[in-house]
Structure formats: structure tokens, C-alpha cells
């Protein structure tokens, strides 16, 4: 075996069922298939049409997150679905799972949550596994040293039927981040700074490995945020080599190996790192100590800059259009822009540490009059943990809304959305035109920046709250 393999090479090689040839892509084995209501119905229909069964229901797990309301049921127990179609979509997944014997973390299940939050939470996501989902942010699971990538609905059908996908191996890129993140600077800021540096298509065709001292010192939550955003740089795969932080996180979770099996697994996981002289098609270095809290100012995630800077002058027609859509005046500080809504949630930033960081700023303060702030935990389990720490009280007392878990305003297909023209500071991952509702202007930021912006009613730098003695 060659000893100049990258982490990605190792993961890839271990899952080849049939090698790639010039004529055909590799047949790649999938260890974990996550399913949700939006991208699966048509795949199940194809299976039914062809009389094919789900081959490995034991490696498949489903949840409901995208179309589900985040407001509780009414007194008759009815959930406030945005449309009858949303309800039908949920019911379709329930039926499909029952029919094919797939475990569904359905409504009322204590483990339900956003698909990329629950995989890791339940210990389903483990180093060395291949993980797919009909969802581009599947790259999140790469934080564990897993080979995780988003697929389309046709491929969802392929995995259901065969437990494999047809894939060609992408090129590899390593992004080495060194230096300590400054106080008030989060993994989200690092992610946005990287995307601003390499561009929204800078990772296209690549599998990215995040490495370096900064990444090693990130928590699992932070690594997940970073890998989650790989797709916003165009890369389907983002990953971090597993280490003690990873092993500690996985151990003890429901689906994690136990006892001796865990020890054996950890030994296997330890070799999942890039060899010292592994080859990468591209390598990028980032000085993480120079990064400030970031905000986006355009309609693509790479239009990002330090929160305390000003709107750059447009350099092209595309930037000019974006600036007009955002209604940000050139040369004005970002903090000059009034905020209508704040969304704290999504598979990027809805974990306990994110909620803690937002609560640290909101504690004892009030959301600015006229600003609607939504806090949506990523899963039922996070909701319970946050409530056990009384974080929900902090949010509610500040005047924010504490909601039921789900994707919510990240994709705005469950009825949670902004109104045309509104400016939303959001901890989600996409600032595309209309992503959070028609005509909505989205600013992506960390939970701390979002919380500070909710308090001030304009785009705000969270660092000033640090000086007041808060730990962000």
C-alpha cells in the first residue's frame, strides 16, 4: 500500500466495491444513509415502480425536519403546517418508512431533529464511515473523519436499492488553518473567512480536508460548522481527521460501539489521518489569528467581510446587483444597517454550544423593539439540554421566540420566513436571494453576532459584549 495517502484517499479506498475505470465511476459502499421528507418521496416512488425493496433498512435512518412546523400543535393536537402539501410530504415519509422498515425519528420522537444534527448526536456518524443524504450539507459529518457527501434524489434511490452510489473520485484540497481564533471569533467566522478567500466555487470538484492547529483545537461542534459550510465553497466533501476530541464525543452515544468494540474502533480510527507527505491537488494556508467576526454582505456566501468593516465598492456587475439587492450603501459601516429579524438555528449553528454563545449575549438584555428573533434548536435533545440549563428562559426573557426543532428559516419551507425587503441576520448557511422568503435580504453570521444584532437592532459586533465580561 502506498504510504502517501491522504485521509480522503484512505476513506475512499476502504469503500470501493468496484473500482473506477475510464468508462464507469466507482461503486462506492455507503455505511449510513440519512433520509428526510423533502428529497426522498420520488426515490421511494421509483423503488415501488420497479418492485425493489430497501436493501439495508438497518443502515438507513430517517427524520422529519424541513417541512415540519416549529410552532407546537394546537389544542386538537394538529400541527400548524405551512401548506397541505407540507403535511402530505411528512405523511409520505412516515408511510414509506413504515412500509420499508426504516427507523424514523418522527414527530414526538425524543431523538428527532435536523438530519445533520441527529446523525452525530446519536453516534450514528462515526470516523471512517461513508455517510450520504439527499442534502448538500451532508458534508457536516466529515467533521468526524467520515466520507460524507450530499446526493440527489435519483441517487437516494440507488442507495436505498443497492446501498451503493456511483461516484468518481474528486480532486483533493487541504486547507491548513494555523493560529488561535481571537475572543469572540467562532468556527462560523473561520468558515466564512475561508469561503471569502477561495470563492463560492473555489472548492468545486475537490474534497477538502481541514487541518492545522486551529482545527485541532476546535470542538466537534466547531468542526461540524466548518465542514457544514464546505459546500458553500462548492466542495461536496469537507473533513477533519479524527482525534481524541472526536473519540470522546462519539463514546457513549446510542449507536456508538461500546466496551471492547469501542477500543478496537478507536484503534482503527487512529490511522485515519493524512500521511505526512500525502499529495494534495491544492493546498491553502489560513492565518486564523487574523480573522474577525464575519458577516456576509451579498447574495453568495463568499461575499463576506469583518463585521466592523464597511460595505466594499462593487467591482463587477454581479457585485453591483448584489449590493442593490442588499440595499447596503457603499462605504457605510455594516453596523449602519437596521435588522428586522434574527434567526439562530440550522444544521450550521443550532447546537448547544451555539445556543450558549447566543444566550451569553442575550442574558439580561432585550431584543430591540420591532426585531423578531427566532431561536430554533437543532434537535429535541438539544432543546432538552438547553432547557435544563435554562437557556430558553434567557431567550424568552430577552424577547426572542423559543421554537420546536427543525430547519425553520434556514430554508423557509415550513412557513418560518421573512417578509419582502426585510434584513435577516441568520446563523444558517445560505444568503441566496429568496432563500429565507421572497425578497428577504440575508446576512450570514455566527450565533454571537446574530445575538448582538438582535439586541442592537442593527448589524453588531459581538466583541463589545466580551469586554462586558461575557464568554462568547
Amino acid at each position: 500500500m502506498n504510504n502517501r495517502q491522504s485521509l480522503f484517499d484512505k476513506l475512499w479506498e476502504q469503500h470501493i466495491v468496484v473500482p473506477e475505470t475510464p468508462e464507469s465511476p466507482a461503486v462506492l459502499y455507503i455505511d449510513l444513509h440519512l433520509v428526510h421528507e423533502v428529497t426522498s418521496p420520488q426515490a421511494f416512488t421509483v423503488l415501488a415502480e420497479r418492485g425493489v425493496k430497501v436493501r439495508r433498512p438497518d443502515l438507513t435512518i430517517a427524520t422529519l425536519d424541513h417541512s415540519t412546523p416549529t410552532l407546537p400543535a394546537n389544542e386538537n393536537g394538529e400541527l400548524p403546517y405551512a401548506t397541505p402539501a407540507a403535511k402530505e410530504q411528512v405523511e409520505t415519509l412516515i408511510e414509506n418508512c413504515a412500509h420499508h422498515n426504516i427507523r424514523l425519528l418522527g414527530l414526538g420522537d425524543p431523538d428527532r431533529g435536523i438530519v445533520h444534527v441527529i446523525g452525530p448526536e446519536l453516534g450514528l456518524t462515526q470516523p471512517g464511515k461513508t455517510v450520504v443524504c439527499g442534502d448538500s450539507h451532508t458534508s457536516t459529518h466529515g467533521a468526524f473523519g467520515a466520507l460524507a457527501f450530499g446526493i440527489g434524489t435519483t441517487e437516494v434511490g440507488h442507495v436505498l436499492a443497492s446501498q451503493c452510489v456511483l461516484q468518481r473520485k474528486p480532486k483533493s484540497m487541504r486547507i491548513v488553518c494555523d493560529g488561535e481564533l481571537q475572543p469572540g471569533v467562532a468556527a462560523k467566522d473561520l468558515a466564512l473567512a475561508i469561503i471569502a478567500e477561495i470563492g463560492a466555487d473555489g472548492g468545486q470538484g475537490f474534497a477538502i480536508e481541514f487541518a492545522g492547529e486551529t482545527v485541532r483545537t476546535l470542538s466537534m461542534e466547531g468542526r461540524m460548522t466548518l465542514c457544514n459550510m464546505s459546500i458553500e465553497a462548492g466542495a461536496r466533501f469537507g473533513m477533519v481527521a479524527p482525534d481524541e476530541t472526536t473519540f470522546e464525543w462519539v463514546a457513549g452515544r446510542e449507536y456508538a460501539p461500546k466496551g471492547e468494540a469501542l477500543e478496537k474502533a478507536i484503534n482503527d480510527w487512529k490511522v485515519l489521518a493524512s500521511d505526512e507527505d500525502a499529495d494534495f491537488d491544492k493546498e491553502i494556508k489560513i492565518d486564523a489569528s487574523a480573522i474577525a467576526p464575519m458577516v456576509t454582505f451579498g447574495v453568495s456566501p463568499d461575499a463576506a467581510a469583518p463585521v466592523d468593516s464597511e460595505m466594499p465598492a462593487a467591482q463587477s456587475n454581479v457585485e453591483q446587483h448584489a449590493a442593490e439587492y442588499m440595499k447596503f450603501d457603499p462605504q457605510q459601516p455594516f453596523s449602519a444597517n437596521a435588522v428586522d429579524r434574527v434567526f439562530i438555528g440550522s444544521c450550521t449553528n443550532s447546537r448547544l454550544s451555539d445556543l450558549r454563545s447566543a444566550a451569553a449575549i442575550m442574558r439580561g438584555r432585550k431584543v430591540k423593539d420591532g426585531v423578531v428573533a427566532l431561536v430554533v434548536p437543532g434537535s429535541e435533545s438539544i432543546k432538552r439540554e438547553a432547557e435544563a440549563e435554562n437557556l430558553h428562559t434567557v431567550f424568552i426573557e430577552a424577547g426572542a421566540e423559543w421554537r420546536e426543532p427543525g430547519c425553520s428559516m434556514c430554508i423557509a419551507m415550513n412557513g418560518d420566513q421573512g417578509l419582502p425587503g426585510e434584513l435577516v441576520v441568520s446563523t444558517s448557511n445560505r444568503n441566496f436571494i429568496g432563500r429565507q422568503g421572497k425578497g428577504v435580504r440575508t446576512v450570514l453570521a455566527s450565533p454571537a453576532t446574530a445575538a448582538a444584532s438582535a439586541i442592537e437592532g442593527r448589524i453588531a459586533d459581538p466583541r463589545k459584549y466580551l469586554e462586558a465580561g461575557n464568554d462568547v
Binding site: A85, G152, T154, S162, L166, A200
Partner: protein
């Protein structure tokens, strides 16, 4: 899904020159609550084509013509970025497009489009500029020879993943291809279980 084999297409183009046209533009998320593939063409580029009252504005290059004469979409760079929703190619196909041409097309979109008989064609920058400048041009895309021809005097080649090309040309069905590999897949599973 069954679709017509794709060999050669001659049609006029519609040009959407914006850069980074993402899947949220192609089909806004609120239309994703469907459980079928049909009818999504109505919602394609919905927020570009309809006003806030939901009335067709008729000022988009996508409206006011016979779709059957314009089966090629020419789009700005980084087309189809964003989510993995296959609803994007479904919607474009349902609207009547059979090919999308750009200087670069996002990975997941490309792979989804190929699986639905919508040919993603990445051309060199010069050809791209030529196409962007001439909406309505008559273009021929030949998958067999992997060439794009504009009018009579402009011709260039394009790359397409070999397996997807074979699937489109010969009607090879990828799911069938995978199902044929089941014995090998089972052998792989047994090998791993023994480890």
C-alpha cells in the same frame, strides 16, 4: 426515470447571464413540498417570473415564446450551485429545456441533471461569451461527438463523464447497472463483516 435518449439537439437558446444562479433561484424552496416530479416547470425561476401577487410579469427571457423552440438554456458561470435538490433539473426539464450550457456548472447539479436527461454542457470561456451575447442563436449539441455548434461557423468540444454519456446515448439505466453488481456488493459486505 425514463427519458428520451439524447443524441443530438438543435434548438435556439434562452440566455440567463447572471453569475452563480443557485438552486433556490431555479426552484424556490417553498415549491419543494411536492412528492412527485411532475408539474415543477410552472415554478421554475418563479421569483424571477412572477410578481408578489403571483402574477406573471412577462419580462423574463423565460416567458413569451414557445418553449418547444427554445430547448437550450445558456447561463452565467457557476450555474446550479447551492442545494442538492433534484427538483432543479426536474423543473428545468419540465419547463422544456433539454440542455444547459455554461462555463462552469456546479457538481451536484451536473450529476443530477445527467440523471434526468438534461444535458449539462460546460464550454470554454470564449464560446460561453459568444453564446451569452447571442440569445436566440441556433445551437446544435451533439453528444456522440461531444461538440457544440453555434450557427455555421463556430464549433467547440465539451467534456462529459463517460458513464453518464453512455447512459444518455444508449439508454443505459444506472440503477439497473447497480443492481447487476449486487453479488459483488454482497461479497464486499461479507469481507467487511469478517474483519
Amino acid at each position: 426515470m425514463m427519458f428520451e435518449p439524447f443524441q443530438r439537439l438543435t434548438s435556439r437558446t434562452i440566455v440567463l447571464s447572471q453569475e452563480n444562479i443557485d438552486t433556490d433561484q431555479i426552484i424556490p424552496a417553498r415549491f419543494l413540498t411536492t412528492t412527485s416530479k411532475e408539474g415543477l416547470g410552472q415554478s421554475v425561476f418563479f421569483d424571477w417570473r412572477y410578481n408578489t401577487e403571483g402574477r406573471l410579469r412577462n419580462d423574463s427571457p423565460l416567458d413569451g415564446f414557445a418553449p418547444s423552440e427554445f430547448e437550450i438554456l445558456v447561463a452565467g458561470p457557476n450555474f446550479g450551485c447551492g442545494s442538492s435538490r433534484e427538483h432543479a433539473p426536474w423543473a428545468l426539464s419540465d419547463f422544456g429545456f433539454r440542455a444547459v450550457v455554461s462555463s462552469d456548472i456546479a457538481d451536484i447539479f451536473k450529476s443530477n441533471a445527467l440523471k434526468n436527461g438534461l444535458l449539462p454542457v460546460e464550454v470554454d470561456k470564449k464560446t460561453h461569451q459568444q453564446l451569452m451575447k447571442t440569445p436566440g442563436a441556433e445551437v446544435t449539441i451533439d453528444l456522440e461527438s461531444q461538440t457544440v455548434r453555434i450557427g455555421h461557423d463556430w464549433q467547440t468540444v465539451f467534456e462529459v463523464e463517460a458513464f453518464a454519456r453512455r447512459c444518455l446515448l444508449d439508454g443505459v439505466d444506472p440503477l439497473g447497472h447497480l443492481i447487476k453488481q449486487l453479488p459483488t456488493i454482497e461479497a464486499y459486505e461479507r469481507r467487511r463483516d469478517e474483519l
